[in-house]
Protein backbone atom coordinates (compact mmCIF):
# COMPACT_ATOMS: atom_id res chain seq x y z
CA UNK A 1 0.00 0.00 0.00
CA UNK A 2 1.47 3.30 -1.06
CA UNK A 3 -0.40 6.56 -0.72
CA UNK A 4 0.69 7.98 -4.07
CA UNK A 5 -0.72 5.15 -6.19
CA UNK A 6 -4.33 5.98 -7.08
CA UNK A 7 -5.26 2.30 -7.41
CA UNK A 8 -4.04 1.48 -3.89
CA UNK A 9 -5.78 4.52 -2.41
CA UNK A 10 -8.98 3.61 -4.19
CA UNK A 11 -8.74 0.01 -3.01
CA UNK A 12 -8.19 1.08 0.59
CA UNK A 13 -11.03 3.61 0.44
CA UNK A 14 -13.39 1.04 -1.04
CA UNK A 15 -12.50 -1.50 1.61
CA UNK A 16 -12.96 1.08 4.36
CA UNK A 17 -16.39 2.04 3.01
CA UNK A 18 -17.29 -1.63 2.72
CA UNK A 19 -16.29 -2.26 6.34
CA UNK A 20 -18.30 0.73 7.53
CA UNK A 21 -21.29 -0.43 5.52
CA UNK A 22 -21.07 -3.96 6.93
CA UNK A 23 -20.77 -2.59 10.47
CA UNK A 24 -23.77 -0.31 9.96
CA UNK A 25 -25.82 -3.21 8.63
CA UNK A 26 -24.91 -5.36 11.64
CA UNK A 27 -25.85 -2.49 13.96
CA UNK A 28 -29.25 -2.06 12.32
CA UNK A 29 -29.86 -5.81 12.49
CA UNK A 30 -29.04 -5.86 16.20
CA UNK A 31 -31.44 -2.97 16.77
CA UNK A 32 -34.14 -4.76 14.79
CA UNK A 33 -33.57 -7.93 16.81
CA UNK A 34 -34.61 -6.23 20.06
CA UNK A 35 -38.03 -7.89 19.87
CA UNK A 36 -36.82 -11.48 19.39
CA UNK A 37 -34.07 -10.95 21.97
CA UNK A 38 -36.48 -9.85 24.67
CA UNK A 39 -39.03 -12.51 23.77
CA UNK A 40 -36.42 -15.10 24.75
CA UNK A 41 -35.48 -13.15 27.82
CA UNK A 42 -33.60 -16.09 29.38
CA UNK A 43 -30.73 -15.57 26.94
CA UNK A 44 -30.49 -11.85 27.76
CA UNK A 45 -30.78 -12.56 31.48
CA UNK A 46 -27.85 -15.00 31.39
CA UNK A 47 -25.71 -12.40 29.66
CA UNK A 48 -26.74 -9.66 32.09
CA UNK A 49 -25.57 -11.96 34.85
CA UNK A 50 -22.35 -12.80 33.04
CA UNK A 51 -21.43 -9.24 32.01
CA UNK A 52 -22.75 -7.50 35.11
CA UNK A 53 -21.77 -9.83 37.89
CA UNK A 54 -18.21 -10.31 36.74
CA UNK A 55 -17.66 -6.57 36.25
CA UNK A 56 -19.12 -5.70 39.63
CA UNK A 57 -15.95 -6.04 41.72
CA UNK A 58 -13.72 -3.95 39.47
CA UNK A 59 -16.45 -1.29 39.09
CA UNK A 60 -17.06 -1.04 42.83
CA UNK A 61 -13.38 -0.88 43.78
CA UNK A 62 -12.62 1.68 41.07
CA UNK A 63 -15.60 3.77 42.12
CA UNK A 64 -14.35 3.83 45.68
CA UNK A 65 -10.86 4.98 44.66
CA UNK A 66 -12.21 7.62 42.29
CA UNK A 67 -14.45 8.91 45.10
CA UNK A 68 -11.48 9.14 47.48
CA UNK A 69 -9.37 11.04 44.99
CA UNK A 70 -12.20 13.38 43.99
CA UNK A 71 -12.77 14.34 47.61
CA UNK A 72 -9.07 14.98 48.22
CA UNK A 73 -8.58 17.04 45.07
CA UNK A 74 -11.91 18.78 45.44
CA UNK A 75 -11.17 19.80 49.01
CA UNK A 76 -7.83 21.27 47.90
CA UNK A 77 -9.57 23.51 45.38
CA UNK A 78 -12.69 24.36 47.38
CA UNK A 79 -10.97 25.32 50.61
CA UNK A 80 -9.09 28.09 48.74
CA UNK A 81 -12.44 29.77 48.20
CA UNK A 82 -13.64 28.94 51.68
CA UNK A 83 -16.40 26.69 50.44
CA UNK A 84 -15.18 23.29 51.57
CA UNK A 85 -18.70 22.30 52.64
CA UNK A 86 -19.66 22.29 48.93
CA UNK A 87 -17.47 19.18 48.59
CA UNK A 88 -20.48 16.83 48.56
CA UNK A 89 -22.03 18.66 45.65
CA UNK A 90 -18.76 18.72 43.76
CA UNK A 91 -18.11 15.02 44.19
CA UNK A 92 -21.66 14.12 43.18
CA UNK A 93 -21.74 16.38 40.13
CA UNK A 94 -18.35 15.19 38.86
CA UNK A 95 -19.38 11.57 39.21
CA UNK A 96 -22.91 11.82 37.87
CA UNK A 97 -22.20 14.07 34.93
CA UNK A 98 -18.80 12.89 33.81
CA UNK A 99 -16.62 10.42 35.62
CA UNK A 100 -19.25 7.82 36.39
CA UNK A 101 -20.40 7.10 32.84
CA UNK A 102 -16.96 7.50 31.25
CA UNK A 103 -14.82 5.55 33.69
CA UNK A 104 -17.43 2.78 33.97
CA UNK A 105 -17.58 2.51 30.17
CA UNK A 106 -13.78 2.33 29.93
CA UNK A 107 -13.60 -0.34 32.63
CA UNK A 108 -16.50 -2.20 31.04
CA UNK A 109 -14.66 -2.21 27.70
CA UNK A 110 -11.60 -3.67 29.38
CA UNK A 111 -13.40 -6.22 31.51
CA UNK A 112 -16.54 -7.29 29.65
CA UNK A 113 -15.87 -6.04 26.10
CA UNK A 114 -12.69 -8.04 25.75
CA UNK A 115 -14.33 -11.21 27.01
CA UNK A 116 -17.19 -10.75 24.53
CA UNK A 117 -14.75 -10.26 21.66
CA UNK A 118 -12.64 -13.24 22.66
CA UNK A 119 -15.67 -15.46 23.19
CA UNK A 120 -17.19 -14.71 19.79
CA UNK A 121 -13.82 -14.75 18.03
CA UNK A 122 -13.08 -18.18 19.48
CA UNK A 123 -16.55 -19.39 18.50
CA UNK A 124 -15.74 -18.38 14.95
CA UNK A 125 -12.27 -19.95 15.10
CA UNK A 126 -13.76 -23.20 16.40
CA UNK A 127 -16.32 -23.23 13.57
CA UNK A 128 -19.08 -22.96 16.18
CA UNK A 129 -20.70 -20.08 14.29
CA UNK A 130 -20.54 -22.06 11.03
CA UNK A 131 -22.01 -25.08 12.78
CA UNK A 132 -24.83 -22.91 14.06
CA UNK A 133 -25.51 -21.59 10.57
CA UNK A 134 -25.59 -25.14 9.26
CA UNK A 135 -28.18 -25.95 11.93
CA UNK A 136 -30.29 -23.18 10.41
CA UNK A 137 -29.77 -21.00 13.49
CA UNK A 138 -28.77 -17.40 12.83
CA UNK A 139 -25.73 -16.58 15.03
CA UNK A 140 -26.52 -12.86 14.96
CA UNK A 141 -29.94 -13.57 16.42
CA UNK A 142 -28.92 -16.35 18.82
CA UNK A 143 -25.48 -15.17 20.02
CA UNK A 144 -24.93 -11.50 19.20
CA UNK A 145 -28.35 -9.93 19.87
CA UNK A 146 -28.77 -11.17 23.48
CA UNK A 147 -25.26 -9.99 24.34
CA UNK A 148 -25.86 -6.61 22.69
CA UNK A 149 -29.03 -5.88 24.63
CA UNK A 150 -27.57 -7.26 27.83
CA UNK A 151 -24.64 -4.83 27.51
CA UNK A 152 -27.07 -1.93 27.09
CA UNK A 153 -28.97 -2.97 30.22
CA UNK A 154 -25.85 -3.61 32.26
CA UNK A 155 -23.76 -0.48 31.66
CA UNK A 156 -26.26 2.06 33.15
CA UNK A 157 -26.68 -0.21 36.18
CA UNK A 158 -22.93 -0.49 36.66
CA UNK A 159 -22.65 3.28 36.27
CA UNK A 160 -25.23 3.76 39.02
CA UNK A 161 -23.24 1.45 41.30
CA UNK A 162 -20.01 3.24 40.43
CA UNK A 163 -21.59 6.60 41.27
CA UNK A 164 -23.06 5.39 44.54
CA UNK A 165 -19.81 3.82 45.70
CA UNK A 166 -17.87 6.90 44.55
CA UNK A 167 -20.09 9.21 46.60
CA UNK A 168 -19.59 6.96 49.62
CA UNK A 169 -15.84 7.22 49.03
CA UNK A 170 -16.09 11.00 48.83
CA UNK A 171 -18.05 11.02 52.08
CA UNK A 172 -15.44 8.81 53.73
CA UNK A 173 -12.59 11.15 52.86
CA UNK A 174 -14.50 14.43 53.18
CA UNK A 175 -16.51 13.81 56.33
CA UNK A 176 -14.64 11.09 58.22
CA UNK A 177 -11.06 12.02 57.33
CA UNK A 178 -11.04 15.76 56.67
CA UNK A 179 -13.90 16.51 59.03
CA UNK A 180 -16.37 18.46 56.89
CA UNK A 181 -19.78 18.85 58.54
CA UNK A 182 -21.88 15.88 57.35
CA UNK A 183 -25.04 17.96 57.32
CA UNK A 184 -23.68 20.50 54.88
CA UNK A 185 -21.97 17.73 52.86
CA UNK A 186 -25.29 16.02 52.16
CA UNK A 187 -27.54 19.09 52.00
CA UNK A 188 -25.26 20.87 49.51
CA UNK A 189 -25.33 17.73 47.41
CA UNK A 190 -29.09 17.50 47.65
CA UNK A 191 -29.56 21.13 46.72
CA UNK A 192 -27.01 21.22 43.91
CA UNK A 193 -27.91 18.09 41.97
CA UNK A 194 -30.81 18.26 39.55
CA UNK A 195 -32.55 15.02 38.64
CA UNK A 196 -33.03 15.83 34.96
CA UNK A 197 -30.05 18.04 34.28
CA UNK A 198 -27.43 16.00 36.11
CA UNK A 199 -28.65 12.50 36.83
CA UNK A 200 -30.60 12.35 33.54
CA UNK A 201 -27.65 13.44 31.43
CA UNK A 202 -25.48 10.86 33.12
CA UNK A 203 -28.01 8.13 32.35
CA UNK A 204 -28.21 9.21 28.70
CA UNK A 205 -24.42 9.04 28.47
CA UNK A 206 -24.21 5.61 30.04
CA UNK A 207 -26.89 4.22 27.70
CA UNK A 208 -25.07 5.62 24.65
CA UNK A 209 -21.79 4.17 25.94
CA UNK A 210 -23.54 0.83 26.48
CA UNK A 211 -24.50 0.74 22.80
CA UNK A 212 -21.01 1.83 21.75
CA UNK A 213 -18.84 -0.49 23.84
CA UNK A 214 -20.99 -3.59 23.37
CA UNK A 215 -21.33 -3.06 19.65
CA UNK A 216 -17.61 -2.51 19.13
CA UNK A 217 -16.82 -5.66 21.13
CA UNK A 218 -19.32 -7.78 19.21
CA UNK A 219 -18.26 -6.40 15.83
CA UNK A 220 -14.58 -7.08 16.52
CA UNK A 221 -15.31 -10.60 17.68
CA UNK A 222 -17.62 -11.36 14.78
CA UNK A 223 -15.14 -10.09 12.19
CA UNK A 224 -12.02 -11.50 13.87
CA UNK A 225 -9.83 -13.66 11.68
CA UNK A 226 -10.32 -17.23 12.89
CA UNK A 227 -6.79 -17.71 14.19
CA UNK A 228 -5.24 -17.27 17.65
CA UNK A 229 -3.45 -14.20 16.35
CA UNK A 230 -6.62 -12.79 14.83
CA UNK A 231 -8.56 -13.19 18.08
CA UNK A 232 -5.83 -11.55 20.15
CA UNK A 233 -5.69 -8.61 17.75
CA UNK A 234 -9.44 -8.25 17.80
CA UNK A 235 -9.39 -8.15 21.61
CA UNK A 236 -6.80 -5.37 21.57
CA UNK A 237 -8.76 -3.46 18.96
CA UNK A 238 -11.88 -3.68 21.10
CA UNK A 239 -10.19 -1.86 23.98
CA UNK A 240 -8.58 0.76 21.76
CA UNK A 241 -11.60 1.48 19.59
CA UNK A 242 -14.19 1.33 22.36
CA UNK A 243 -12.12 3.64 24.59
CA UNK A 244 -11.58 6.19 21.83
CA UNK A 245 -15.24 6.02 20.82
CA UNK A 246 -16.35 6.54 24.43
CA UNK A 247 -14.10 9.56 24.92
CA UNK A 248 -15.05 11.13 21.58
CA UNK A 249 -18.77 10.55 22.15
CA UNK A 250 -18.42 11.96 25.66
CA UNK A 251 -17.17 15.23 24.17
CA UNK A 252 -20.04 15.33 21.69
CA UNK A 253 -22.67 14.50 24.31
CA UNK A 254 -21.30 16.97 26.84
CA UNK A 255 -21.24 19.74 24.23
CA UNK A 256 -24.83 18.94 23.26
CA UNK A 257 -25.97 18.91 26.87
CA UNK A 258 -24.51 22.35 27.53
CA UNK A 259 -26.16 23.78 24.43
CA UNK A 260 -29.64 22.58 25.42
Amino acid sequence: MSWYKPADVGFAARRLLGDIGAAARLFMRLLALAGPAFRRFGLVRDQVHFLGNYSLAIIAVSGLFVGFVLALQGYYILQRYGSAEALGMMVALSLLRELGPVVTALLFAGRAGTSLTAEIGLMRAGEQLSAMEMMAVDPVRRILAPRFWAGIIVLPLLTAIFNAVGIMGGWGVGVLMIGIDPGSFWSQMQGGVDVWQDVGNGVVKSVVFGFTVTFVALLQGYNARPTPEGVSRATTRTVVMASLAVLALDLVLTAMMFSI
Binding site: L122, M123, G126, E127, Q128, S130, A131, E133, M134, M135, A136, V137, D138, R142
Partner: protein
Protein backbone atom coordinates in the same frame (compact mmCIF):
# COMPACT_ATOMS: atom_id res chain seq x y z
CA UNK B 1 -40.55 -34.58 -5.37
CA UNK B 2 -39.09 -37.60 -7.07
CA UNK B 3 -37.79 -40.08 -4.57
CA UNK B 4 -36.59 -42.69 -7.01
CA UNK B 5 -33.03 -43.73 -6.23
CA UNK B 6 -31.98 -42.93 -9.77
CA UNK B 7 -32.32 -39.15 -9.45
CA UNK B 8 -29.32 -37.75 -7.61
CA UNK B 9 -30.08 -36.17 -4.24
CA UNK B 10 -27.34 -33.58 -4.65
CA UNK B 11 -25.99 -32.51 -7.98
CA UNK B 12 -23.28 -30.02 -8.91
CA UNK B 13 -23.48 -28.82 -12.49
CA UNK B 14 -20.51 -27.10 -14.07
CA UNK B 15 -19.56 -25.42 -10.79
CA UNK B 16 -16.70 -22.93 -10.71
CA UNK B 17 -15.43 -21.45 -7.47
CA UNK B 18 -12.23 -19.72 -6.39
CA UNK B 19 -10.72 -17.67 -3.61
CA UNK B 20 -9.18 -14.53 -5.11
CA UNK B 21 -7.23 -15.53 -8.21
CA UNK B 22 -6.92 -19.18 -7.23
CA UNK B 23 -9.57 -21.38 -8.82
CA UNK B 24 -10.52 -24.22 -6.48
CA UNK B 25 -13.30 -25.79 -8.51
CA UNK B 26 -13.25 -25.48 -12.27
CA UNK B 27 -16.36 -26.66 -14.07
CA UNK B 28 -17.05 -29.47 -11.59
CA UNK B 29 -19.85 -31.93 -12.35
CA UNK B 30 -20.79 -34.25 -9.52
CA UNK B 31 -23.83 -36.20 -8.47
CA UNK B 32 -24.53 -37.74 -5.08
CA UNK B 33 -26.98 -40.65 -5.23
CA UNK B 34 -29.79 -40.92 -2.69
CA UNK B 35 -29.31 -43.28 0.25
CA UNK B 36 -25.65 -44.00 -0.44
CA UNK B 37 -22.37 -43.14 1.26
CA UNK B 38 -20.30 -41.07 -1.15
CA UNK B 39 -16.66 -40.42 -0.33
CA UNK B 40 -15.07 -37.23 -1.59
CA UNK B 41 -11.31 -37.59 -1.73
CA UNK B 42 -8.37 -35.67 -3.04
CA UNK B 43 -5.26 -33.79 -2.01
CA UNK B 44 -5.42 -31.06 0.66
CA UNK B 45 -6.60 -27.75 -0.71
CA UNK B 46 -8.30 -29.58 -3.55
CA UNK B 47 -11.74 -28.15 -2.87
CA UNK B 48 -13.39 -31.02 -1.00
CA UNK B 49 -14.50 -28.91 1.95
CA UNK B 50 -15.52 -26.19 -0.50
CA UNK B 51 -17.96 -28.64 -2.08
CA UNK B 52 -19.57 -29.20 1.34
CA UNK B 53 -19.76 -25.47 1.95
CA UNK B 54 -21.40 -24.97 -1.45
CA UNK B 55 -24.00 -27.65 -0.73
CA UNK B 56 -24.69 -26.08 2.67
CA UNK B 57 -25.06 -22.65 1.07
CA UNK B 58 -22.24 -21.16 3.14
CA UNK B 59 -20.42 -20.26 -0.07
CA UNK B 60 -21.99 -19.47 -3.40
CA UNK B 61 -20.73 -20.88 -6.67
CA UNK B 62 -19.36 -18.26 -9.04
CA UNK B 63 -20.75 -20.25 -11.94
CA UNK B 64 -22.97 -23.27 -12.30
CA UNK B 65 -25.69 -24.78 -10.16
CA UNK B 66 -25.66 -26.65 -6.86
CA UNK B 67 -28.87 -28.67 -6.72
CA UNK B 68 -30.08 -30.06 -3.40
CA UNK B 69 -33.11 -32.24 -4.05
CA UNK B 70 -33.81 -30.22 -7.18
CA UNK B 71 -33.38 -26.77 -5.57
CA UNK B 72 -30.47 -24.51 -6.52
CA UNK B 73 -28.92 -23.79 -3.10
CA UNK B 74 -26.87 -20.91 -4.53
CA UNK B 75 -30.00 -18.87 -5.22
CA UNK B 76 -31.72 -19.51 -1.88
CA UNK B 77 -31.92 -16.65 0.62
CA UNK B 78 -32.98 -16.23 4.21
CA UNK B 79 -35.80 -18.54 5.35
CA UNK B 80 -35.67 -20.71 2.21
CA UNK B 81 -31.97 -21.37 2.76
CA UNK B 82 -32.57 -22.16 6.43
CA UNK B 83 -35.41 -24.50 5.45
CA UNK B 84 -33.01 -26.38 3.16
CA UNK B 85 -30.35 -26.50 5.90
CA UNK B 86 -32.78 -28.06 8.34
CA UNK B 87 -32.78 -31.05 6.03
CA UNK B 88 -28.97 -31.31 6.24
CA UNK B 89 -26.61 -32.14 9.04
CA UNK B 90 -22.94 -31.27 8.96
CA UNK B 91 -20.12 -32.64 11.01
CA UNK B 92 -17.21 -30.24 11.22
CA UNK B 93 -13.60 -31.33 11.27
CA UNK B 94 -13.10 -30.94 15.02
CA UNK B 95 -16.73 -31.29 15.98
CA UNK B 96 -17.35 -27.57 16.55
CA UNK B 97 -19.22 -28.29 19.78
CA UNK B 98 -20.48 -25.27 21.70
CA UNK B 99 -17.86 -25.04 24.41
CA UNK B 100 -20.15 -23.36 26.94
CA UNK B 101 -22.79 -26.12 26.78
CA UNK B 102 -22.65 -29.68 28.13
CA UNK B 103 -22.79 -32.71 25.84
CA UNK B 104 -26.51 -33.04 26.54
CA UNK B 105 -27.23 -29.38 25.82
CA UNK B 106 -25.17 -29.49 22.63
CA UNK B 107 -27.36 -32.25 21.23
CA UNK B 108 -30.48 -30.55 22.56
CA UNK B 109 -29.51 -27.25 20.94
CA UNK B 110 -31.13 -27.76 17.50
CA UNK B 111 -34.24 -29.22 19.16
CA UNK B 112 -34.62 -26.26 21.46
CA UNK B 113 -34.04 -23.79 18.63
CA UNK B 114 -36.40 -25.34 16.11
CA UNK B 115 -39.10 -27.07 18.11
CA UNK B 116 -41.32 -26.41 21.12
CA UNK B 117 -41.13 -29.98 22.38
CA UNK B 118 -41.72 -30.50 26.09
CA UNK B 119 -38.61 -31.02 28.18
CA UNK B 120 -39.31 -34.72 28.78
CA UNK B 121 -39.45 -35.40 25.06
CA UNK B 122 -36.31 -33.37 24.39
CA UNK B 123 -34.56 -35.48 27.01
CA UNK B 124 -35.71 -38.72 25.40
CA UNK B 125 -34.69 -37.66 21.89
CA UNK B 126 -31.28 -36.42 23.06
CA UNK B 127 -30.58 -39.64 24.95
CA UNK B 128 -31.68 -41.69 21.92
CA UNK B 129 -29.30 -39.77 19.67
CA UNK B 130 -26.48 -40.04 22.19
CA UNK B 131 -27.21 -43.75 22.51
CA UNK B 132 -26.90 -44.12 18.74
CA UNK B 133 -23.31 -42.84 18.95
CA UNK B 134 -22.61 -44.75 22.17
CA UNK B 135 -22.30 -41.72 24.45
CA UNK B 136 -25.48 -41.83 26.50
CA UNK B 137 -23.32 -42.05 29.62
CA UNK B 138 -21.32 -38.94 28.73
CA UNK B 139 -24.32 -36.61 28.75
CA UNK B 140 -23.15 -34.48 31.66
CA UNK B 141 -19.57 -33.93 30.49
CA UNK B 142 -18.43 -30.60 29.08
CA UNK B 143 -16.80 -30.49 25.61
CA UNK B 144 -13.42 -29.79 27.24
CA UNK B 145 -13.69 -33.10 29.10
CA UNK B 146 -14.20 -35.41 26.11
CA UNK B 147 -11.57 -36.76 23.70
CA UNK B 148 -11.35 -35.77 20.05
CA UNK B 149 -13.10 -38.91 18.88
CA UNK B 150 -15.87 -38.51 21.43
CA UNK B 151 -16.32 -34.86 20.53
CA UNK B 152 -16.92 -35.87 16.94
CA UNK B 153 -19.47 -38.47 17.96
CA UNK B 154 -21.28 -35.87 20.06
CA UNK B 155 -21.24 -33.56 17.05
CA UNK B 156 -22.67 -36.40 14.97
CA UNK B 157 -25.48 -36.90 17.48
CA UNK B 158 -26.15 -33.17 17.26
CA UNK B 159 -26.09 -33.24 13.45
CA UNK B 160 -28.74 -35.99 13.36
CA UNK B 161 -30.86 -34.52 16.17
CA UNK B 162 -33.46 -33.18 13.74
CA UNK B 163 -33.41 -36.33 11.56
CA UNK B 164 -31.83 -34.79 8.45
CA UNK B 165 -31.90 -36.43 5.03
CA UNK B 166 -28.31 -35.54 4.15
CA UNK B 167 -25.31 -35.69 6.48
CA UNK B 168 -21.98 -34.20 5.43
CA UNK B 169 -18.79 -35.22 7.21
CA UNK B 170 -15.76 -32.92 6.95
CA UNK B 171 -12.66 -35.03 7.65
CA UNK B 172 -14.33 -37.21 10.28
CA UNK B 173 -11.20 -39.35 10.70
CA UNK B 174 -8.53 -36.63 10.98
CA UNK B 175 -6.38 -37.07 14.07
CA UNK B 176 -8.22 -40.09 15.49
CA UNK B 177 -6.56 -43.12 17.03
CA UNK B 178 -7.18 -46.46 15.25
CA UNK B 179 -9.98 -47.55 17.58
CA UNK B 180 -11.87 -44.24 17.40
CA UNK B 181 -11.29 -44.24 13.66
CA UNK B 182 -12.85 -47.66 13.17
CA UNK B 183 -15.74 -46.71 15.47
CA UNK B 184 -16.40 -43.51 13.55
CA UNK B 185 -16.33 -45.28 10.19
CA UNK B 186 -18.71 -48.03 11.28
CA UNK B 187 -21.00 -45.40 12.79
CA UNK B 188 -21.22 -43.48 9.54
CA UNK B 189 -22.14 -46.63 7.64
CA UNK B 190 -24.62 -47.85 10.24
CA UNK B 191 -26.41 -44.53 10.65
CA UNK B 192 -26.66 -44.13 6.91
CA UNK B 193 -28.40 -47.48 6.54
CA UNK B 194 -30.48 -47.34 9.71
CA UNK B 195 -31.83 -43.84 9.22
CA UNK B 196 -32.07 -43.92 5.42
CA UNK B 197 -29.64 -41.02 5.10
CA UNK B 198 -27.55 -39.84 2.24
CA UNK B 199 -23.96 -39.30 3.40
CA UNK B 200 -21.05 -37.39 1.96
CA UNK B 201 -17.69 -38.11 3.59
CA UNK B 202 -14.70 -35.88 2.91
CA UNK B 203 -11.59 -37.76 3.89
CA UNK B 204 -7.94 -38.55 3.23
CA UNK B 205 -8.03 -41.88 4.93
CA UNK B 206 -8.07 -44.31 2.02
CA UNK B 207 -8.44 -47.67 3.80
CA UNK B 208 -11.24 -46.69 6.13
CA UNK B 209 -13.10 -44.61 3.56
CA UNK B 210 -12.93 -47.22 0.81
CA UNK B 211 -14.22 -49.71 3.31
CA UNK B 212 -17.49 -47.90 4.04
CA UNK B 213 -18.19 -45.96 0.83
CA UNK B 214 -20.60 -46.99 -1.92
CA UNK B 215 -19.18 -44.45 -4.30
CA UNK B 216 -15.78 -42.74 -4.34
CA UNK B 217 -15.10 -39.45 -6.08
CA UNK B 218 -11.51 -38.23 -6.41
CA UNK B 219 -11.14 -34.50 -6.99
CA UNK B 220 -8.04 -33.04 -8.58
CA UNK B 221 -7.39 -29.65 -10.15
CA UNK B 222 -10.98 -28.60 -9.57
CA UNK B 223 -12.45 -31.49 -11.54
CA UNK B 224 -13.45 -35.09 -10.96
CA UNK B 225 -10.38 -37.24 -11.63
CA UNK B 226 -12.06 -40.57 -10.91
CA UNK B 227 -15.49 -41.72 -9.88
CA UNK B 228 -16.93 -45.16 -9.18
CA UNK B 229 -17.08 -47.92 -6.64
CA UNK B 230 -14.05 -48.26 -4.36
CA UNK B 231 -12.81 -51.19 -6.42
CA UNK B 232 -13.10 -49.28 -9.68
CA UNK B 233 -11.22 -46.27 -8.29
CA UNK B 234 -8.50 -48.50 -6.84
CA UNK B 235 -8.02 -50.03 -10.28
CA UNK B 236 -7.86 -46.67 -12.04
CA UNK B 237 -4.94 -46.20 -14.41
CA UNK B 238 -5.05 -42.41 -14.23
CA UNK B 239 -1.55 -41.48 -12.95
CA UNK B 240 -2.90 -38.91 -10.49
CA UNK B 241 -5.48 -41.26 -9.02
CA UNK B 242 -2.85 -44.00 -8.91
CA UNK B 243 -0.51 -41.74 -6.94
CA UNK B 244 -3.26 -40.79 -4.53
CA UNK B 245 -4.69 -44.25 -3.93
CA UNK B 246 -1.25 -45.76 -3.44
CA UNK B 247 0.06 -42.83 -1.41
CA UNK B 248 3.17 -42.28 -3.52
CA UNK B 249 5.37 -39.35 -2.58
CA UNK B 250 6.08 -38.22 -6.11
CA UNK B 251 3.96 -38.36 -9.23
CA UNK B 252 1.80 -35.85 -11.05
CA UNK B 253 1.52 -34.11 -7.65
CA UNK B 254 5.11 -33.07 -7.06
CA UNK B 255 6.96 -33.68 -3.82
CA UNK B 256 8.89 -30.42 -4.21
CA UNK B 257 7.16 -27.09 -3.98
CA UNK B 258 7.96 -25.08 -7.12
CA UNK B 259 11.12 -22.99 -6.66
CA UNK B 260 14.57 -22.35 -8.09
CA UNK B 261 16.60 -25.33 -9.35
CA UNK B 262 18.67 -27.34 -6.90
CA UNK B 263 21.80 -26.29 -8.84
CA UNK B 264 20.95 -22.64 -8.50
CA UNK B 265 20.07 -22.82 -4.80
CA UNK B 266 23.16 -24.72 -3.68
CA UNK B 267 25.58 -22.95 -6.01
CA UNK B 268 26.77 -26.09 -7.79
CA UNK B 269 27.20 -25.90 -11.51
CA UNK B 270 25.59 -28.67 -13.49
CA UNK B 271 28.07 -31.39 -14.38
CA UNK B 272 31.33 -30.67 -12.52
CA UNK B 273 33.36 -28.50 -10.19
CA UNK B 274 32.53 -24.79 -10.06
Amino acid sequence: MDDSPLTPFVELRNVTFGYGDRAVLDGLNLSIPRGKVTALMGASGGGKTTVLRLIGGQQRAQQGEVLFDGQDVGTLQGPALYAARRRMGMLFQFGALFTDLSVFENVAFPLREHTDLPEALVRDIVLMKLNAVGLRGARNLMPSEVSGGMARRVALARAIALDPELVMYDEPFAGLDPISLGTAAQLIRRLNDAMGLTSIVVSHDIDETFHIADQVVVLANGKVAAQGTPAEVRASTDPLVHQFVNALADGPVRLHYPGPDVEQDFGVARGGEP
